[in-house]
C-alpha cells in the first residue's frame, strides 16, 4: 500500500444557522472517512449538495470540521505546512480584473511563497502547457470561462505541488480542452503527483480516476477502484434462445420459463422477443447461479444462441447508490 496523502477519519461538518423558525443546523458532511494514496487520481463523485465542496474546503482549511480528523501529508489540515504542498483549482476561479495571465501567476506564485525567478520560469512552462502561450499579456477581462479554467490550472500547478485538488477542472472547456486537461492529469499522475478530483462528469471520472468515492447526503456510499465498484456480486445474465430450435413444435410465446430459472430472494427476471428469439434477462449473483440456469436450460433442450454476463457501469452504480431522485450527472 502506498503512502496515504489524504487521510480523513470520521470528518463531520455541521453548519449552524438561524431562521425565523429558530435554530437550523445543516449536516453537510456526516462522518466521512477516506484515504487518497500517493500517485493516484482520486475522484469524488456525488450529486449537488452531497458535501463534496465542503469536504474539499475542510481539506484546504477553508472550513473548520465540526468533528473528526484529517491530515494532508501527515500534517493537520489547515496547517500552513500542509497547504504549502497543495495546488487548488476552484470551481469558478475569479481573478481580479486588473491582472493579465502572467501577473496573476506572479501574484499567486508569491502567495505560494515562490521567488520571482521560479515564478517566471514556471509561468513560461505552464502557460504553454495550458494553451495560454501568447495570450499571457492580455487582460483577464477578455478571457472566456475556458481560458479562466486554463489559467486556474496553471496557477494550481505553479508551485509544483505534491497534491492537486481540482474542483470541476474541465468545467467550461471544449472537448479539445477537456482532452488536454485529461492528458495533463495523466502526465501528473505519471510523475507521481496525487490528484484529488471533484467532478460530476462520470465519463471524466471513469477516464482519469484510479479510485473513486461516491458521496451522497454527506456520507460515503461507496469507495474503491472502478473495478471494485463495478465488481460487486450484482450481475445481469442475458440469454437469447432461438425459436426455430424448438423440437416439440410448441409455441415459444406460450413457454413458461419460470420453472427453469432458479431465483433467489429479491432477484427478478424478464422475457422478451428480440429478432425472433426469446431474450431472458435475469438478475444473478455469482457464477454458480449462472451455471445452474444454463444447465437447466440445456437439460430442457433449449438451445442458447447468445449468453452475456453484464457488469454494472459506474453510472449504474452511482444511480443505484445515490438514487435517481438525487442524481444530477452528465
Amino acid at each position: 500500500m502506498s503512502q496515504s496523502i489524504v487521510d480523513v477519519q470520521h470528518l463531520k461538518k455541521t453548519y449552524r444557522g438561524w431562521s425565523f423558525r429558530g435554530r437550523r443546523n445543516v449536516n453537510a458532511v456526516r462522518g466521512v472517512s477516506l484515504q487518497a494514496y500517493a500517485g493516484e487520481v482520486f475522484g469524488l463523485l456525488g450529486p449537488n449538495g452531497a458535501g463534496k465542496t465542503t469536504l474539499i474546503k475542510m481539506l484546504l482549511g477553508v472550513v473548520k470540521p465540526t468533528s473528526g480528523t484529517a491530515t494532508l501529508f501527515g500534517q493537520a489540515i489547515g496547517s500552513s505546512a500542509a497547504r504549502r504542498r497543495v495546488g487548488y483549482l476552484p470551481e469558478s476561479l475569479r481573478v481580479d480584473r486588473h491582472h493579465t495571465a502572467r501577473t496573476a501567476l506572479q501574484y499567486y506564485g508569491r502567495m505560494s511563497r515562490m521567488d520571482a525567478a521560479s515564478i517566471g520560469k514556471r509561468s513560461d512552462e505552464l502557460l504553454k502547457l495550458v494553451g495560454l502561450e501568447g495570450r499571457d499579456r492580455e487582460s483577464v477581462r477578455r478571457f472566456s470561462k475556458g481560458m479562466y479554467q486554463r489559467l486556474g490550472l496553471a496557477q494550481a500547478l505553479l508551485h509544483d505541488p505534491d497534491l492537486l485538488v481540482l474542483d470541476e477542472p474541465t468545467d467550461g472547456l471544449d472537448p479539445v480542452g477537456r482532452n488536454e486537461v485529461r492528458r495533463v492529469i495523466d502526465r501528473l499522475r505519471e510523475s507521481g503527483k496525487t490528484i484529488f478530483l471533484n467532478s460530476h462528469i462520470l465519463q471524466e471520472v471513469e477516464l482519469v480516476c484510479t479510485r473513486v468515492a461516491i458521496l451522497a447526503r454527506g456520507e460515503i456510499k461507496a469507495i474503491g477502484s472502478l473495478d471494485e465498484l463495478s465488481s460487486s456480486d450484482q450481475q445481469q445474465l442475458v440469454i437469447d434462445v432461438p425459436r426455430s430450435e424448438y423440437a416439440d413444435g410448441t409455441d415459444p410465446m406460450e413457454s413458461d420459463w419460470s420453472p427453469l430459472i432458479d431465483l433467489r430472494e429479491g432477484q427478478t427476471w424478464s422475457a422478451s422477443v428480440v429478432r425472433n428469439q426469446d431474450r431472458l434477462t435475469i438478475d444473478v449473483e455469482g457464477q454458480s447461479q449462472i451455471d445452474r440456469i444454463v444447465d437447466r436450460l440445456r437439460e430442457e433442450g433449449h438451445s442458447i444462441s447468445r449468453l452475456i454476463v453484464k457488469q454494472e457501469s459506474l453510472e449504474e452504480t452511482f444511480m443505484r447508490l445515490v438514487g435517481s431522485e438525487e442524481a444530477d450527472v452528465s
Binding site: Y15, K57, L60, G61, V62, V63, K64, S80, A81, R83, R84, V86, Y88, P90, E91, S92, L93, R94, V95, D96, R97, H98, T103, Q106, Y107, Y108, R110, M111, S112, R113, G152, Q155, V165
Partner: protein, 810 residues
C-alpha cells in the same frame, strides 16, 4: 512577509486600474492647476478698513471735539477732523451737541482713505505734539523723493493714527496682497509675512485637510475601496487565497493596507502639489505640510476599518458604504455636540482671572461671568451671569481690601469699548455675600483696574486715571443710600452725585445745546473719549500717550509703575508732590525703546528690581527695573507663547504661563542665565500671585484651583496648601458623564485637523488676539487625543474583523 507584501502591491495595482481613481487624479490636477496662479506680495499697510476703527464712539467724540474746540483747530486732531466730507462733518457736529448720531464706520474709513492721497491736512508743527511711532519718525526723516508711493501712503496713515491715538486697532505695518494670475484681489490681509505663514499653517492647511482630504477624498476612497473585501470573499477568489500557505489575519490586514493605497495615491499628489504651490508661489517651503499625507491615510483607515468590518459581515459593497456613511454621520454628530459643549459649557466656566480677598475667591470666567466660591456647597456661585454670546466684557476683578473686590461689566464691550451706557465699577463685599453693587463711575473704556497703595488706577486707551481707594469704597455706601432714597421717591429723576454712579454716558451729554456751553460739550466729549471723570483724574504726564499694546505693572521696591506701550518701556515714578488722586502726574524716570516687533502681543511683570518682558515670537527679556537696562534674555520652549507672567512677591522670581497650559517658575541664576522649573500642573488657564498669602493661585482644568505656597524667601520652592475641586452642576454633569465618555469611545476624526495644525505649524498651542491681554483666545491643539482615539478605534475594529475572519467558515 513576501505574500503579504504581494497583496499590498496587488492592491496598489487594483487601485491604479480603478476608473474612479483616474477621475480623482484628473480632479486633483485640475484643482492644483487652478490654484497654481495664486500669488502674493507684501506691501505697507495703508488703506483703512471699517473694522480698523476699533473704538467708534471714541473716534466720534475726538473728531467732534476737533471740530468744535477752538484750541484744537490747528492741532493734528483739528486738521484731521476737517478732512471729512460735509455730510460726515454735519453728523460730527450733531455728536458735539449731544445728539445720539450713528456714523457709518465705512464712511469714516472711506474719508480717511481719501485723505491718504491728499495730504493738505498735514502740518509738521501740528504733528510735533503727537506721539509719533518710530516708524513714522523714520519716514518723516526721508525726503519726498526718497519715498515710494507705498511709503508715502504709509506715512500718511501713521500721521492720521498719531492724530487719533487709541482709535485704531493695532495693525501690522505690512500687509499681504493676494493675487491670481497677476491680478490683485481687492481685499488684503493686514498681517506680515510671518503671520501670513502662521495663518496658512494654522488655519488654511487644517481647513483643506478638513474639507478636501478629510471629507471629499475619504468619501471617494470609501466608494472605491468598499468592494475590496466583498470581492475577496467571492468563493472563486477567497477559497483560492485561503488554500495558500498564508495567515488569514495577515491576509485581511494586507487587504486593509492595500485599500489604503487608493487614498495614499490621491493624497500624495494633492499634498505634494499643494506643498510645491505653497513653495513656488507663496514662498512657504514648509515640509511639515507633508504630514498631511500620513494623517489623511490614518484618517481614512478609521473609516475603512468600519467598511472592512461591514464588508466581512454582509459581503456587500453597498452595505459597506451605507454603514460607513452612517458611522461617519454618527462621528460627525458626536463631534459637533462635543464642540458645542466645549464652547457653551466648558469654556464659559473656564477661569480667566482670579481675585483673592482673605479666604474668599472671586473669579472672572471666559463666558463673561463673575463667580464666588462657596466652600460650604463646594460650588461656584454666579455673581454676574455667564453671557454665552460673550458680548459683554468683564474688567478683571481686583482685590480692594481683605473683604472687598471690584470689577466692571462693559455692556457689549467686546465690540464697542466706548459704547453707550455708563461704566460703573462693581464692588463685591463680603458683608453682601459678594453681591455686586454699583460703585464709582469708571472712565469710559476702562480695561483694567489696579490698586497702588491707597489709589485705584484705571487703564483705558486714553491713558491711566486715578482715584482714591477710599472714594471707591465709599461710593458703594453712597450708592446704597441713594437706592434707599430712590425707593422713597415717586419721581424717577436722577441727580448727579459726586461719583456720577447713576449717570449714564448718554445722559451726561446735554440734550440741548442751548442749555449748556461749548466748554461743557468739550468736557463731555473728553469723557466720552475715555478721559477723566468726576472721580478719576489723568495721571500720565503729557509726553506719554499710550498706544496698543499697553501693559502696566508695579515695581513697589522703586515706588514706580512700569508701562510698556508699543515698543516703549517706561518706568514712571510716583508724583513727588501731591496726591495722584488730586491730579499730580507721574514722572517718567527711565525710558527704553525695544526694537523689532513692537506691535506683537506682550506680557510683562516686575518683581524687586527685575522686569520681565515677553513679546510674541521673541525671547524673554530680563530688565533691571531701576534703569530698564536689559540684563539677559532667555528662550521659552519651541512653539510656546507666554500669556501671563506673575511676580512671586519681590523675590525677583516669576511664574510664567504659556499657551500650552504649562507653568514655569523662573529666577535668575547668575548674570547670564536663569533657572526654570515647570510646575506640576496641566491645562492651566490663569495664575495670580497673592502677596498677602505668599501663595500662587493656579486655576486649571476649567475651574479647579490650587494654592501653591511660594514664600518670597524660598525661590522656586512650592507646596500646594489648598485645593478647590468644585462639584459639578447641570450641563457640566451631562458633559462629564455622557458627552465625555461618548467622545472617548468615538474616534475624534474631526479633531485630527488640530493634529494637522500642530504638525504643520510646529506649535502645540497658540493665542489669537493679544493686544488686549484679557481678551486673548488661547487655542490648545489636541494632538495626542484624536490620534489615540482614532488609533484605538481602528485597532479594535481590525481586531474584531480579524477574529471574525479567522473563525468564520467561508
Amino acid at each position: 512577509m513576501k505574500p503579504y507584501f504581494a497583496i499590498v502591491v496587488d492592491s496598489f495595482h487594483a487601485a491604479l486600474s480603478s476608473r474612479i481613481l483616474w477621475i480623482a487624479f484628473v480632479a486633483i490636477w485640475i484643482f492644483l492647476i487652478a490654484l497654481a496662479p495664486i500669488g502674493y506680495h507684501e506691501d505697507y499697510t495703508t488703506t483703512f478698513r471699517w473694522f480698523d476703527l476699533d473704538n467708534g464712539t471714541q473716534m466720534k467724540a475726538m473728531l467732534a471735539r476737533g471740530l468744535i474746540d477752538p484750541e484744537e483747530s490747528e492741532t493734528a486732531l483739528g486738521r484731521i477732523a476737517r478732512v471729512f466730507p460735509e455730510s460726515v462733518e454735519r453728523q460730527l457736529k450733531q455728536v458735539a451737541q449731544g445728539e445720539d448720531v450713528r456714523i457709518d464706520k465705512a464712511a469714516l474709513a472711506g474719508a480717511l482713505n481719501e485723505a491718504l492721497d491728499n495730504e493738505d491736512w498735514y502740518d509738521a508743527d501740528a504733528w510735533q505734539a503727537t506721539v509719533r511711532l518710530k516708524e513714522l519718525r523714520e519716514l518723516d526723516e526721508k525726503t519726498a523723493d526718497e519715498l515710494t508711493e507705498s511709503e508715502r501712503r504709509r506715512r500718511a496713515r501713521l500721521r492720521i493714527e498719531a492724530a487719533l491715538p487709541g482709535v485704531f486697532s493695532v495693525q501690522s505695518s505690512r500687509s499681504i496682497m493676494l493675487s491670481y494670475a497677476g491680478f490683485e484681489f481687492p481685499a488684503f490681509f493686514a498681517i506680515g509675512k510671518t503671520q501670513f505663514i502662521a495663518l496658512i499653517n494654522q488655519f488654511v492647511v487644517p481647513i483643506i485637510m478638513d474639507w478636501l482630504l478629510g471629507f471629499a477624498l475619504i468619501f471617494l476612497g470609501i466608494l472605491v475601496t468598499a468592494s475590496i473585501i466583498p470581492d475577496m470573499l467571492q468563493p472563486g477568489s477567497l477559497h483560492l487565497l485561503l488554500s495558500k500557505p498564508i495567515s488569514r489575519t495577515f491576509l485581511l490586514l494586507s487587504k486593509f493596507l492595500g485599500g489604503c493605497a487608493f487614498v495614499l495615491l490621491c493624497v500624495c499628489q494633492l499634498v505634494i502639489g499643494l506643498y510645491l504651490i505653497a513653495g513656488f508661489r507663496l514662498d512657504i517651503w514648509n515640509a511639515r505640510i507633508l504630514w498631511c499625507i500620513p494623517v489623511s491615510v490614518f484618517l481614512f483607515s478609521v473609516f475603512y476599518s468600519v467598511s472592512t468590518m461591514a464588508g466581512l459581515r454582509w459581503r456587500s459593497p453597498t452595505l459597506s458604504i451605507g454603514v460607513t456613511c452612517m458611522f461617519g454621520a454618527f462621528v460627525l454628530v458626536i463631534g459637533f455636540v462635543g464642540s458645542y459643549f466645549d464652547a457653551l459649557v466648558r469654556r464659559p466656566d473656564q477661569i480667566a482671572r482670579i481675585a483673592v480677598a482673605g479666604s474668599d475667591i472671586v473669579v472672572a470666567c471666559r463666558g463673561g461671568g463673575i463667580k464666588h466660591f462657596d466652600p460650604d456647597s463646594n460650588l461656584w456661585n454666579e455673581l454676574i451671569e455667564t453671557d454665552f454670546r460673550r458680548h459683554d466684557l468683564i474688567v478683571p476683578p481686583i482685590r480692594l481690601n481683605e473683604s472687598m473686590i471690584a470689577s466692571a461689566q462693559i455692556r457689549n464691550g467686546r465690540f464697542n469699548l466706548y459704547g453707550s451706557g455708563s461704566l460703573d465699577a462693581l464692588v463685591m463685599r463680603r458683608e453682601d455675600d459678594f453681591d455686586p453693587k454699583p460703585g464709582m463711575r469708571l472712565p469710559n473704556g476702562t480695561r483694567r483696574m489696579y490698586v497702588w497703595d491707597d489709589s485705584l488706577l484705571a487703564l483705558n486707551n486714553a491713558g491711566i486715571m486715578a482715584t482714591k481707594m477710599q472714594q471707591m469704597v465709599d461710593s458703594v455706601a453712597s450708592s446704597e443710600e441713594q437706592d434707599d432714597a430712590e425707593s422713597d421717591e415717586t419721581a424717577g429723576e436722577l441727580d448727579l452725585n459726586a461719583s456720577g454712579a447713576e449717570v449714564s454716558a448718554d445722559e451726561t451729554i446735554p440734550k440741548s445745546s442751548a442749555a449748556i456751553g461749548a466748554a461743557a460739550w468739550i468736557s463731555d466729549l473728553l469723557r466720552m473719549q475715555g478721559g477723566a471723570t468726576e472721580g478719576f483724574v489723568d495721571i500720565l504726564p503729557g509726553n506719554v500717550k499710550l498706544t496698543d499694546p499697553v501693559r502696566l505693572v508695579f515695581a513697589p521696591k522703586l515706588d514706580s509703575v512700569v508701562i510698556y506701550s508699543r515698543g516703549r518701556l517706561m518706568r514712571l515714578g510716583r508724583p513727588k508732590d501731591g496726591s495722584m488722586a488730586e491730579g499730580a502726574k507721574l514722572t517718567v524716570e527711565v525710558e527704553r525703546t525695544i526694537e523689532d516687533s513692537d506691535a506683537a502681543a506682550t506680557v510683562i511683570a516686575a518683581s524687586g528690581d527685575a522686569v520681565l518682558l515677553a513679546r510674541q515670537n521673541e525671547s524673554v527679556k530680563w530688565f533691571r527695573a531701576s534703569d530698564l537696562e536689559a540684563i539677559l534674555e532667555f528662550e521659552i520652549p519651541e512653539g510656546e507663547r507666554l500669556i501671563a507672567i506673575e511676580p512671586i512677591g519681590q523675590s525677583e522670581s516669576f511664574a510664567m504661563l504659556a499657551t500650552s497650559g504649562q507653568v514655569w517658575m523662573v529666577s535668575r541664576k547668575d548674570d547670564d542665565t536663569v533657572t526654570t522649573r515647570p510646575l506640576d500642573f496641566q491645562d492651566v488657564a490663569s495664575i495670580e500671585y497673592v502677596e498677602s498669602l505668599g501663595q500662587l493661585v493656579v486655576a486649571h482644568h476649567i475651574d479647579s484651583i490650587d494654592f501653591v505656597e511660594f514664600p518670597s524667601d524660598k525661590k522656586l520652592s512650592g507646596k500646594t496648601v489648598r485645593t478647590i475641586r468644585p462639584s459639578l452642576t447641570g450641563w457640566r454633569k451631562v458633559d462629564q458623564w455622557l458627552i465625555t465618555p461618548l467622545r472617548t469611545i468615538t474616534p475624534q476624526t474631526g479633531e485630527l485637523s488640530e493634529t494637522v495644525a500642530a504638525l504643520v505649524s510646529g506649535k502645540r498651542s497658540f493665542a489669537i488676539g493679544g493686544n488686549n491681554e484679557d481678551d486673548t483666545e488661547v487655542i490648545r491643539l489636541k494632538i495626542a487625543r484624536p490620534v489615540l482615539s482614532c488609533a484605538a478605534f481602528t485597532a479594535v475594529m481590525l481586531a474584531l474583523s480579524c477574529v471574525y475572519f479567522k473563525r468564520r467558515d467561508f
